[in-house]
C-alpha cells in the first residue's frame, strides 16, 4: 500500500505536468477532469447560446424547464438519448457509424496539450501547437465521411462545402500561427521597450513554452510589434470561425439551403456527438488563440503589478466572480413571480445561487485560490471567445460561398504572407538592437 501512496503523493510537489513527470495516476486524473470540465462547459454553452441569442433578438429564450430554463440542456440531452436511432437504408453503414466518433475523437484529443496553467496540462509536447492543428484538421475527415456515407444529396453538398472551406482557411490560419511562433524565438523588450530582455533562443512549438515566452518577453503576442501581432490575431480569429463551421461561415450546415448539411441524416445519440464535437472544437480553437496571443494562463500585468499585495488582489478574482454570479441568482430569485405555481422554481434558483456562493467562498481559501487562479484566467479568456461566437451568430448574415472563398484566398492569405514577412523583418530589427546593446 505504501508504495502506491508514495507514487501518488510524489507528484504533488512537482513543477511539471503529469505527462512530463511520467505519473500515470495524475495524468489519468487530469484526463478525467478535463473531460468533465469540457462536458460541463458544453452544457453551459448550450444554455448560454440559446439565452444570449434570445436576448439579442428581444425574446426570453428557454423559460419552462427549471428556473430561467436552467435545466433545458439536461432535458435536451435526455430527449436525444431516448430518440430512435435512424440509419438510411442506402447508407454505407460502417462509415456512417464511425464518422461521428472520428469527429468527437479529433475534438477531444487536442485537449491533451492545452495548457490551463504551467502545471495544469495533461502533458506538454515538443510539437504542441502542431499537434493541435494536425489533430483538429482530422475532424474534417469525419465530416466528409458523414456527408458521403449518408448517401443523400444535402449531406453530400454540405460535406463538399465543409472540406473546401476547412482546407482553404487552414492555410491562412497556419500563416497567422507561424508568425506568432516566430515571436517566441526573439529577445523580448516588451511593449514600447518596457521590461527586461528575455533570453532569445530557437523558439518553441510547445504550448507551455509559448506562454512562457510571452511572460519572459513581458508582452502578450497580440500587442507585440504593434499592430503586427494584432493583425495575426485578427486573421486567426476569422479563420477559426470558418474552421469550426460557425456563423457567419456556417455554409456546410446552412439550414435555409441544405436542411442541416452533413448531419441531415443523423439523429439521436449520433447527432448529439456532432453537437458535442462542434462545441468542444470551438473551445479548442479558442484555447489556441488564447495561448498564442492572449498570454494563456497569465493574469493581466503579471510583471508590472507584482508583489504580495497585487498577487492577493488578483487571487481574489475567482471567488468574486462566483459571488457575483450568485448575487445575480439571488436578485432573480427576488424577482420571481410570487404565485404558488412558481414556488419550486424559486426554491431551485435560490439553491443554485447558494451553490455558486459556496463555490465562491471555497475559492477564497488560500490553498485553493493559489492552485486554481491560472485555470481561472485561462477559462475567462476562452469564455470571452465563446461569447464572441454567439455574438457573431446573432449579428452577421451568412456569407455566400464565392464570398467565403474570396475572403479566404484573396484577402486573408496575402495578408498572412505579408504579415509573416513583416514580422520577420521586425524580429530581425529587434534582434539587431539587442545585439548592438549587448556590445556597447
Amino acid at each position: 500500500m505504501q508504495p502506491i501512496i508514495d507514487y501518488i503523493t510524489s507528484y504533488l510537489n512537482s513543477t511539471q505536468t503529469p505527462g512530463a513527470a511520467g505519473n500515470f495516476f495524475w495524468a489519468f486524473v487530469y484526463i478525467l477532469l478535463v473531460f468533465l470540465g469540457l462536458s460541463v462547459a458544453v452544457i453551459a454553452m448550450n444554455w448560454l447560446e440559446r439565452k444570449i441569442l434570445a436576448h439579442m433578438q428581444v425574446r426570453l429564450g428557454p423559460m419552462r424547464v427549471g428556473p430561467h430554463g436552467l435545466l433545458q440542456p439536461i432535458a435536451d440531452a435526455i430527449k436525444l438519448l431516448l430518440k430512435e436511432d435512424i440509419m438510411p437504408a442506402e447508407a454505407d453503414s460502417f462509415v456512417f457509424w464511425i464518422a461521428p466518433f472520428i469527429v468527437v475523437l479529433a475534438a477531444f484529443t487536442v485537449f491533451v496539450v492545452v495548457p490551463f496553467g504551467p502545471t495544469h496540462a495533461i502533458t506538454d509536447m515538443n510539437i504542441g501547437i502542431l499537434f493541435m492543428l494536425g489533430v483538429s484538421s482530422l475532424s474534417v475527415l469525419g465530416i466528409v465521411m458523414a456527408g458521403w456515407a449518408s448517401n443523400s444529396h444535402y449531406p453530400l453538398i454540405g460535406a463538399l462545402r465543409s472540406s473546401a472551406q476547412m482546407v482553404s482557411y487552414e492555410v491562412a490560419m497556419g500563416l497567422a500561427v507561424v508568425s506568432a511562433i516566430l515571436m517566441t524565438s526573439l529577445h523580448g523588450l516588451g511593449l514600447y521597450g518596457a521590461g527586461s530582455a528575455g533570453t532569445g533562443d530557437t523558439g518553441t512549438l510547445s504550448m507551455i513554452g509559448i506562454v512562457a515566452a510571452q511572460q519572459e518577453q513581458h508582452v502578450w503576442f497580440v500587442f507585440k510589434f504593434f499592430p503586427l501581432g494584432l493583425i495575426a490575431f485578427f486573421i486567426f480569429a476569422i479563420a477559426m470561425v470558418a474552421e469550426t463551421n460557425r456563423a457567419p461561415f456556417d455554409l456546410p450546415e446552412a439550414e435555409s439551403e441544405l436542411t442541416a448539411g452533413f448531419h441531415t441524416e443523423y439523429s439521436g445519440f449520433r447527432w448529439s456527438l456532432f453537437f458535442l464535437a462542434e462545441y468542444s472544437a470551438m473551445i479548442a480553437v479558442s484555447s489556441i488563440a488564447v495561448t498564442l496571443w492572449l498570454g494563456g494562463w497569465l493574469r493581466p500585468f503579471p510583471n508590472l503589478l507584482h508583489g504580495t499585495t497585487w498577487d492577493l488582489v488578483f487571487n481574489l478574482f475567482p471567488g468574486i466572480t462566483f459571488l457575483f454570479l450568485a448575487a445575480i441568482c439571488f436578485y432573480s430569485t427576488a424577482r420571481m413571480p410570487k404565485h404558488p405555481y412558481f414556488k419550486i422554481q424559486t426554491m431551485g434558483l435560490a439553491g443554485f445561487g447558494a451553490l455558486l456562493a459556496l463555490i465562491g467562498f471555497v475559492l477564497f481559501v488560500p490553498a485553493v485560490f493559489v492552485r486554481v487562479q491560472d485555470i481561472y484566467w485561462f477559462a475567462m479568456k476562452v469564455a470571452a471567445f465563446m461569447y464572441l461566437y454567439i455574438w457573431y451568430r446573432g449579428t452577421f448574415p451568412r456569407y455566400r460561398f464565392d464570398q467565403l472563398m474570396k475572403v479566404g484566398w484573396k484577402i486573408l492569405l496575402p495578408m498572412g504572407l505579408g504579415l509573416l514577412i513583416l514580422t520577420a523583418v521586425m524580429g530581425m530589427r529587434s534582434e539587431l538592437q539587442h545585439w548592438v546593446a549587448s556590445i556597447l
Binding site: 511520467g22 454505407d92 462509415v95 509536447m125 515538443n126 510539437i127 502542431l130 499537434f131 492543428l133 494536425g134 489533430v135 484538421s137 482530422l138 474534417v140 475527415l141 466528409v144 465521411m145 458521403w148 453530400l156 460535406a159 463538399l160 472540406s163 473546401a164 476547412m166 482546407v167 487552414e170 533562443d201 530557437t202 523558439g203 518553441t204 512549438l205
Partner: protein, 171 residues
C-alpha cells in the same frame, strides 16, 4: 525523462495496422473505403515516427497527409461516379511484373537486414532527443542545409505555378 512503455506491443500494433491498411487499400472495391484505409495506414505511420523519437515528423505527417492531402483525395473520389467503377475489373493481369518487383524489393530488404547491421544503431536511442527534436531540425534546415531547403521550396513554387498555368485556359 520517462522510460518507454510497452514498446514491442505498440510497435506490433502500429505495424499491423499499417499492413492491414495497405492491404485494404488495394483490395476494397469502393474507392472511398480504400482512401479511409490509406488514412489509417498513414496515421499508424505517424505513430511509428513518434516511437522513433521524431515527434515533428509525426506531426507533419498527420497535418499534411492525413489532414490535408487525403481530404483532397476524398473530395475528388466523392465526385466520381462509383457505380460505374465497381463494374470494372479491379486488377490488371500483370502477375509476372508484380512478382518481379515484389521479389526485388524483398531481396533488397533481406540484403540490408543481413549485411547492413553495422549501419544502424543496435541500442536504444539516447534519451532527451525528443524534448528538442523540432529545434534540432530547424537549426539543421535553416543552418547547415539552408541552400538546399530554399531550392526545394523554389521547386515546389514552380510546380504550383506550372499546375495553375496548365490547368487554366485563360489566365
Amino acid at each position: 525523462m520517462n522510460p518507454p512503455v510497452a514498446t514491442p506491443f505498440f510497435f506490433y500494433l502500429l505495424a499491423g495496422t499499417m499492413l492491414m491498411g495497405g492491404i485494404l487499400v488495394i483490395t476494397r472495391r469502393n474507392a472511398v473505403h480504400s482512401a479511409l484505409a490509406l488514412i489509417a495506414a498513414l496515421l499508424a505511420q505517424a505513430g511509428l515516427y513518434l516511437m522513433l523519437y521524431a515527434p515533428f515528423v509525426a506531426g507533419v505527417q498527420i497535418i499534411l497527409y492525413a489532414g490535408g492531402i487525403m481530404v483532397l483525395f476524398l473530395f475528388v473520389i466523392m465526385l466520381v461516379n462509383l457505380e460505374r467503377v465497381q463494374k470494372e475489373r479491379q486488377f490488371n493481369k500483370q502477375w509476372l511484373v508484380g512478382i518481379a518487383a515484389a521479389g526485388a524489393l524483398g531481396g533488397l530488404f533481406i540484403t540490408i537486414y543481413t549485411k547492413g547491421k553495422g549501419i544502424f544503431l543496435d541500442r536504444a536511442m539516447p534519451s532527451g532527443l525528443e524534448a528538442e527534436n523540432t529545434q534540432k531540425i530547424s537549426v539543421l534546415l535553416y543552418g547547415q542545409y539552408m541552400f538546399a531547403f530554399e531550392i526545394a521550396s523554389l521547386l515546389l513554387l514552380v510546380a504550383i505555378i506550372g499546375a495553375v498555368v496548365m490547368a487554366k485556359k485563360r489566365i
